[in-house]
Symmetry: C2
Subunit: 250 residues, 2 copies
């Protein structure tokens, strides 16, 4: 019994090996953001493959957000710093293709934002607290000025909170999911009947959260954050999904 366990030999495409090598060089740090890859013609001699193969590999690397090539650039493709754009893209298609409901997305935001705020309440610096307060002030100013900059100020607040949480993964994921949710219902928000009232109530919620963060009361800040999010989005969530959201409000 037993015998040697042979791996099934799946045909590795030529371009895949090129991708693997370049990807490995980037992830190992041998290639740093800002550095340039050799030109396509140079790469084809180094890997001894054709130009078409090199180009297919470069397209894949570009789709993964690792490199970027511009036409005519004598320096070759540029190695990019990490950006959550690819993560954003794959989560967006996940939301569409895997049929994520708005309720699931909002619920995810309630979980992650509350966690970020709980951590921020305990780990924040005074400077970060000032950023949050400034964002809330800008939200107030936006209401007076007609509400155009309200969304941006709201994003700034949540981003300041996410950064203060000290967890880059939380920061990136909250940002990605927030923008997806906003995309889904931007039109509905814009055409809401009592838009100014919604904004004022949202500001009140944010001030309550901010006060709890200032006081260092993480659990209270988290609870208020969940309530605020529920209050703001519940109307747009299908009725049968609201129960799942309420389950987070204890």
């Amino acid at each position: 019994m037993g015998g040697p366990r042979f791996e099934p030999v799946r045909a590795i495409r030529a371009y895949e090996r090129v991708v693997e090598q370049v990807e490995g060089a980037i992830e190992s740090g041998a290639l740093c953001p800002g550095q340039r890859l050799p030109s396509e013609r140079e790469l084809m001699t180094q890997f001894s493959v054709s130009r078409s193969t090199v180009r297919e590999a470069l397209r894949v690397l570009q789709a993964r957000g690792l490199v970027q090539s511009r036409p005519g650039d004598p320096n070759g493709a540029e190695v990019l710093p990490f950006s959550p754009a690819v993560l954003h893209k794959s989560m967006s298609t996940l939301a569409r293709v895997a049929e994520l409901s708005l309720g699931e997305l909002v619920q995810f935001r309630m979980v992650l934002d509350a966690a970020a705020i709980l951590l921020a309440a305990r780990l924040r610096t005074d400077e970060q607290l000032a950023e949050m307060a400034a964002a809330v002030d800008r939200m107030k100013g936006a209401v007076e000025a007609g509400g155009d900059a309200f969304g941006a100020a709201d994003v700034a607040f949540h981003d300041a909170v996410a950064r203060a949480s000290g967890n880059k993964l939380i920061q990136i994921c909250t940002d990605v999911v927030r923008s997806i949710v906003v995309d889904l219902i931007a039109d509905k928000i814009a055409s809401a009947p009592d838009r100014e009232g919604l904004m004022r109530r949202s500001i009140g919620h944010h001030e309550e959260v901010l006060a709890a963060v200032r006081a260092g009361d993480g659990p209270l800040a988290a609870r208020r954050s969940r309530e605020s999010m529920y209050d703001y989005y519940a109307d747009y969530v299908k009725a049968e999904e609201r129960a799942a959201l309420k389950a987070l409000l204890e």
Copy 2:
């Protein structure tokens, strides 16, 4: 003031337009998983571009996990059902390139797993509860049998919980982050001094969580889940990061 706001005209590559059209057809539902794209030669006539351009577009679509092409297949590329593989890939590179620390990953798991368990405690069916109990039983059996199947049973438990949460996004993200964490420290776990003791203590934690789920006490289940995860992973996290983890234990 104000004038017409012109968009910067970025040169759209030919392959990008092919990608956009096919991607749109898939996301709009015009192309369903299992269906086949036209052959490359057919696509080049339909889009009136060359073969290479079609191929580069197909590479990008493949990198995004939307289609898959096999050599010699008379039917052309296959439209794939959504898989979190791309999400997994981009989060993995995020973990490496953006220098996510183990502490951040574990903290993220503590947040998401606790949320999943809180929801599961309130929304689970009896059948799902039985699945969780069965998984814990298998963990026990694995310890007797030498610990080989312990990890798989542990995964099965957390997967059952995530499914019972009713939130596909939570389910996918917990799975992705769990596998990344496990990859990072699989060797350290395997060579732990008192491996059997670790497993037994982990089983005890899982039983406590399961009891709280059975009793429908979500907050208790969530707290026990966070404690369990902290207890299991804290040793592998850098000392200066442990404070951030403890902030979640209130």
